[in-house]
Structure formats: structure tokens, C-alpha cells
Symmetry: D2
Subunit: 245 residues, 4 copies
């Protein structure tokens, strides 16, 4: 069983609040939990920023195999302690799926080492066309055709300051004629990270079949069944071994 | 079920023949089949170069999800037709595991685009130490410690003319003080390729637990459960789509 | 001095011939030679397919540091001998710049190991917008803004079957709402390869300042000033060295 | 002219102090400055941690094209302000060469996003053999043979927790039979980063011809002559552009 923890900031801006509550009555975390709960190999928990320990306690994270992370304007408020703990767990092998506006989050920036908040954006009810660049990759299982479309979502535009993805899964062409690297994989330490652009809070994106498929696939891809065991403590002195035997 | 086809050249050089037949009475393909047959999710077939259609007919390849490929001095004798067919199938999503001296094979060179036969070697009964550089990667599942050792095998030495691996899994330090990139992953088209150094025909390498673990893991990693469906024909004219919708 | 050899197929299809001759009276190779000849650090030669030895003799290639290569519908007619020789020279350190429809060429397919002719296309007088994804890369020196545009060119569309670029320099968004990986870097052996989409024969693309800048930069990037010297012969037996000293 | 700033911690541990001062009477920064000063295309400045603003003021960094950075046990003492400023400058295009024990530095860890202090080590007067894996790369210009050796240096051993290098230049085989990824390239934002293992303070490593060659080459490789100009401010709202023109 893959233990999936779905975390969302859940602090919509005043003008977006009503719309978001209408679209996502149980929150973004609730909508994602709904479709993942149907997977026989997954056990789901959810949390939001207003929970105890901001929903990301050490204990919770120790029992998490894959963390799904959605944040927005309140990203600066996540405690450094929580960020540290997520960071450590990813390096130890916890999978991390970073959704949409969590591009700006402290945890994503820290794992990338760059100014990941650096991209351009607009909310203009525009179509996003996700081109599939990795037809055999587990994250694309079950998709059909050369691309799929999200009919309306926030538009993100390059230049997105990220290290070049180790595997480029999707690139989006926007209705406004731009591009965005919208599905990107990296490994850091023992952990696998997937950034996926889809899902502004005022559009029903997480109810779309293709988006659900991508997130479900990504959970399985990011799950490290068993990492190398008996790995030594870090940064200790090395005893010489016999080079000739 | 993963349909695994294990192919071996099975034409040992005169001076190695007796030793090889003693160590591998059912061939290298037989020894590998023995441990993979114990996996509940795999269906195994085997073939050798002296079989009809050299053991690599179109029909066989169409029914293969992952091909394990071991060749040696007779690599030039594999027909171009068979090589073409394997190549096409890999690009369509068949996994390929290239073992040991198959580094020189036509199919591996063709997928890499370089002179993959270019490395240095000696047969000197030397220990090979496989350092694990990707502790969370599926191919390393179940390994313990920082490295594992093959007590005796043929020694391979850099410079190995390959495109830089997309994921570097193992690097070997040899008893002679050299290094070799010994566990390397690439994607070509929809297919995943793993090169693994272990297994000269005159050493019982394929009976070693760690080697069996790596090959078993690699089969699962290279297996493309379902690639993007309804992919269009290649290289045809593109109809414009509406950029603004 | 960088010795640049510019090679073009120069066999336009009947219906394109007049237009091409009007736009490029001295051929595509002539237009490129004109702007590269102004560079103080470059020495330029040109050739076309109808030249002796198809313009790609061993002698010529031995004296070439960077080869610029433009081909189209007659790509199958380049002799295997010439392709072999270019391939060998790239692996030895000759830079290679592959332009536009040379995506389908034997030499590019051989270095990539994939069906590089696989992309979608149309000739519809459309604008191509080249987004810059590598702002500090030598190939982008002197460009300004987030993208540059080619007002009219042939449209290329993904899926383009290439190994994931080691450095992704440009991605194009087309007027038809698609994307294309249009500026891609790889290393094979000691050689550096740059694929650049711009330049169908019936549009005056090679007279555009940005396109000239990119090609000029790419020549300098692909030039290997001096590769590792005294490199040993390939694939010979290795003498053990003392591991402990 | 490339403006190179060489920075060293220059706070040797008590037991190493005398030996270091004897080997490097003008400091490690002085020894490196000596050979770089002979390069006609470089202008050299040096600084140490005890200088005003710890030798890394905003003003200094603004006038630096490539920073060479050597630190050791006092890495925690570098101010967060200085680290921030170096980090920002790298993303804007300043080259960074991270030497030896600076693997543990805050700036390197921040750019990598991992626990870069995680490696194994011993000081045992051992030989380090640097295998060349990128024979055409600018950083290897002028080297001969398959490897070069540093007769005595501190030994570093995997597992080194770094993102897989975008270009793997060197891997070291140690006298103790281990390996270490000892020459590694990455790009972050517009900046190029090279980590190079050589140079513990109690060995005269920086007087060795090959080590000097590698550092000199790395400065030229990391130098961004001119990055994309007129790049827009980050993270601002994007005006739609006309997708169809």
C-alpha cells in the first residue's frame, strides 16, 4: 500500500473564496482524495495549513510515502521546521508531487536550488494544451493522442527558473501562443519529484479525467517501494577497504 | 504479466566452451530463465542464435515486453533484419536489457549512436565492486550497503563510448584500480534501455543473488505497462489546430 | 581559426526550385557562408550533393572542425560511405550543426539512434516563436527578450522522436497552437551536436539577424578546441595498473 | 577579460596550520591567483573570510564573472547575506567553481538542493586517479591519456548526495578501491557550476600542472560572455500575445 498524504494550503484569497468553495466543497485536498481513494493500492490522508502543526508534523511525514502538495499565496507562512522535515524526507525517499501554484513554495525552491517562483502568469480563462513528450513514461499511462487539453485554467508562461528536468513529460502550449514546461521530473537524494502545472483553485481542473490519471500515475511513479537498505550514516570517516581484493 | 524473452548468442569460443557448458549447462539464457521464472508477474521464453530466425523473429518480438540480450564475439552475425526489428520494437516501447559483452552488439550501438564496442577489457579473475549511485531507483531495490561485489568477472575499463546515461545507477571500481560505468539507463522513443556489465560466460555470475536482483528489478523498470495509445502515424502532414481555442 | 564546412543538398523539388533560386541565388550554403565569412575566427568552405564525392570526402572532413548540414528530400541518396565518415568524425570531436529538414538525414538518425524523421509538418507560411529556455548558454548570446520570431517558415510539430536533449535551448510555439523542440544539444563521443529547426528553402530565414546569430554562436559552441590528446586505441586489452599506488 | 574572484576560508585547523602555511605561504587563494594571473584573458582578485564583509560584498560580486570558492570547517560561519548574494549572482549568470571541501558549503548545498556535505572521507596520503569521461569537453582541454593522477590528497568516497551531474567530466578511483564523482557540471538559472574534488590544504595539489589546467579551463567554461539581454522582470503578470500571428 502506498501511503499518500495530500496537503493543501486552503486559504483562498477573498475574491476567490466563494468560487473555490463552490467548486471544491471539501477543498482541493478533498477532491484529489476522492479519486485516489478508488485506487486499491493507496491509503489516503489529507491535511490543510490550519491543522495542528500545519498538517505536516514529523510523525505524519514519517508515515507518508508520497506527498501531494498544493499551495498558493500563503506559501511564506509554512514554518521552516515543516519545510525542513519535508525536504529531509524527500531526500530519504518520500515521493513529492508539486501542483500548480506550489511552484513558488519554499520546499520546491529548496529542492531545485533556483528561484522557482519566477514565471509569468495570468488568469484569463484560457485553454492549456499539454503535449506528451515521453510516450512510454509511467506518468503518461492511459493517455491517448498527442496531447490533452484542460479547457480553462490559469496560464503559466516561461521563463520558469528550474534546473532542466531529468525527464520532460509535458510541455504546454497556451491559448495565448506561449509555452510552459508543465510536467517535469527530477530525482533528489533517494526521492522522486514531479511538478505538474494543472489546477488553479477557481477552475474544476481536478475533476478532469486526464488530470486525475496523471496524478494517479505520478503517485505510483514517485513511490519508492524499498530504497537501498542499511545505508551508512552520512559524512563519517571512511575506513579504507582493500583495493586489490 | 510481463512477457520476457531471454536471448543469448550461445556460441562460446573454443577455449571457453567446456568451462561455460559446465557453469551454464542450460546456457546463460537458461540460468537467467531459472530465477525469473520464480517471479509471479513474469512469463519467460528463451532463444539462442542457432534457433530459427536466429531466435528473434518479428512474431516473437511482437509478443515480447522486455528483451534480455546477451551476445559476444559473434555479434556481427546477427542479421540486419533482426536488428532492425528489435530496434523498431524498442522505439515502440519494448524494454531492453543489454548484458555484459552485448555492449558491442549492433542493436546497442544503433540505439546509442556511438562506437559502444569501445572500451578496454581483460580476463584476469578480478573482483568488481558495484557502487550504488541511485539509492532510490527501482533497479536498486533490495540491495544493501553502499556497493555489492562480484567476486570474479571479466574486467571492463573506461573510456566507454556511450551517451551520458540519463540515470547513472552503478559505477564499478575494479581490482586493478580503474572505473567503469556499469549500470546505465536511457530512454529511446517509448522504450527503456538498461546496460549492465555483469556476466562473462566463464564465471558463475548469474547465480549471484545481487546480480539476479538487479536483473529482476530491471525487467520491471523497463516494462512499459501501457504506452500512449492512439499515437498518430509518424511523419505525416499536420493539420493546423485552432491556436486560440 | 575554426574551419567550418557548410554542406547543402541543393536539389529543390520542381515546384520549389524557382522560388528557392530567387531567395538563395548562391544556395543555402552560400547564404550561410556570407554571414559566417564576416567572423574573424572562422574559415569557410561550402559544398553541395552534386560535387565530387558528394562534397563530403574523407579529406574534406579531416580538415573540418564544424560541419553545418542542410538536407531535404534527397537525404536517402547520400552514400553510406559519406555518412560513415561524418559519423566517425563527430565521435572524434568534429562539431555538427543539423539544420531544419536535415532532421530526417541518415547522419542525424544514426547519431541519435531513433527515427528522427518522425515529426509532423506543414507548409503554411506560419510564424514560429522561439522561446529561450537557456538564458546563459553560449548559443543564446546576444539574443534579447524571452523569445524571437521567424515571421514565416515551415511548421514542425511534436512528437519528434529524439533522445531527450542534454541541453534544451529553444522550444517553438507555432501559429497553429503547437510546440516543437527546436533548439537541442547533445554530445556523442567527443563531438557536440546542435539541431536547429529554422530554415525551409522557400523562405528567406537565413537572412534574419537572430537566425544568423544562433548559427554563429552554435559554431563556436560546437568547436572542440583541442580534445584529450594521446587517447588510446579503442577496444584493446587493458593492462592492469597498480590499484594501490 | 574574465573577472575572476578567488575566495578561500583560510582558517586552517590548529594541527594543519603550520603545514598549510608552509605549502601555501600566500594561501590557497594566492596559489590559484599565481597561475591564473598568467592567463591573458583573466583579471584576478582574491579574498578570505577574515576580510571586510567576509570578502564577498555585493559590490565585489557584481564585478565578478567567475567565483572560485574554497571552504572547509568554518563553512557555517559565512553569513546568510553573503550566501544569498552569491546564490543570486550565480542564477544571474556568474560562474561558480566549487573546490574540494567546499562541497559542504552553504552556497553549494543551496544550489544543489541536497545534503552535499554527505560523503565519506579520510586523510591518508592516498593517490587519486581522475578518469576522463568527457574527452571533448572544454574542461578537459590539454589533458593527455585516459586519466591523470594526484599523487596525494584527501580521499573522498561515494555516496555523494548531489543531483546527477548534467555533464560528468571526471570520476576518481581511489587508492583504497573506491570511487567518487570528482568533476561535475550543472547549470542553475543562467549560471554554470563546476565542482572539482582536488585540493586538501595540507597537500601541494594546486601546484600540479593538470589541476591548474582543469581550473583554468573551468573558468573559461563557466564564463557567460553575455547572457540574454533585456530579460524581463520575474514573476510578473503576462500580457497575452497574439497566438495566431
Amino acid at each position: 500500500m502506498i501511503r499518500v498524504h495530500i496537503w493543501a494550503e486552503d486559504q483562498p484569497l477573498p475574491f476567490a473564496k466563494e468560487q473555490m468553495r463552490k467548486i471544491y466543497p471539501t477543498g482541493i485536498e478533498g477532491a484529489i482524495a476522492d479519486f485516489l481513494n478508488k485506487q486499491p493500492d493507496m491509503m489516503i490522508t489529507t491535511a490543510v495549513m490550519s491543522d495542528a502543526k500545519q498538517g505536516l508534523s514529523k510523525r505524519t511525514l514519517k508515515q507518508t510515502d508520497v506527498l501531494i502538495f498544493w499551495s498558493h499565496k500563503h506559501w511564506r507562512e509554512l514554518s521552516d521546521e515543516a519545510v525542513d522535515c519535508v525536504w529531509q524526507r524527500v531526500l530519504e525517499g518520500m515521493g513529492l508531487i508539486v501542483l500548480h501554484s506550489a511552484h513558488a513554495s519554499k520546499i520546491f525552491a529548496r529542492l531545485m536550488g533556483t528561484r522557482t517562483q519566477s514565471l509569468r502568469w495570468r488568469e484569463a480563462d484560457e485553454r492549456q494544451r499539454y503535449w506528451i513528450l515521453a510516450p512510454g513514461h509511467p506518468i503518461t499511462y492511459g493517455l491517448t493522442g498527442e496531447y490533452f487539453e484542460v479547457p480553462m485554467d490559469e496560464t503559466y508562461v516561461e521563463y520558469f527558473e528550474i534546473p532542466q528536468p531529468q525527464e520532460q513529460i509535458f510541455i504546454t502550449s497556451t491559448q495565448g501562443g506561449e509555452i510552459f514546461r508543465s510536467g517535469n521530473c527530477w530525482t533528489r537524494g533517494a526521492g522522486r519529484i514531479f511538478y505538474f502545472q494543472a489546477g488553479h483553485e477557481t477552475y474544476p481542473v481536478y475533476y478532469q479525467r486526464e488530470v486525475q490519471l496523471v496524478i494517479t500515475n505520478a503517485v505510483r511513479w514517485a513511490f519508492i517501494e524499498k530504497k537501498v537498505a542499511e545505508w551508512p550514516d552520512w559524512a563519517r570517516e571512511a575506513e579504507p577497504i582493500d583495493a586489490t581484493k
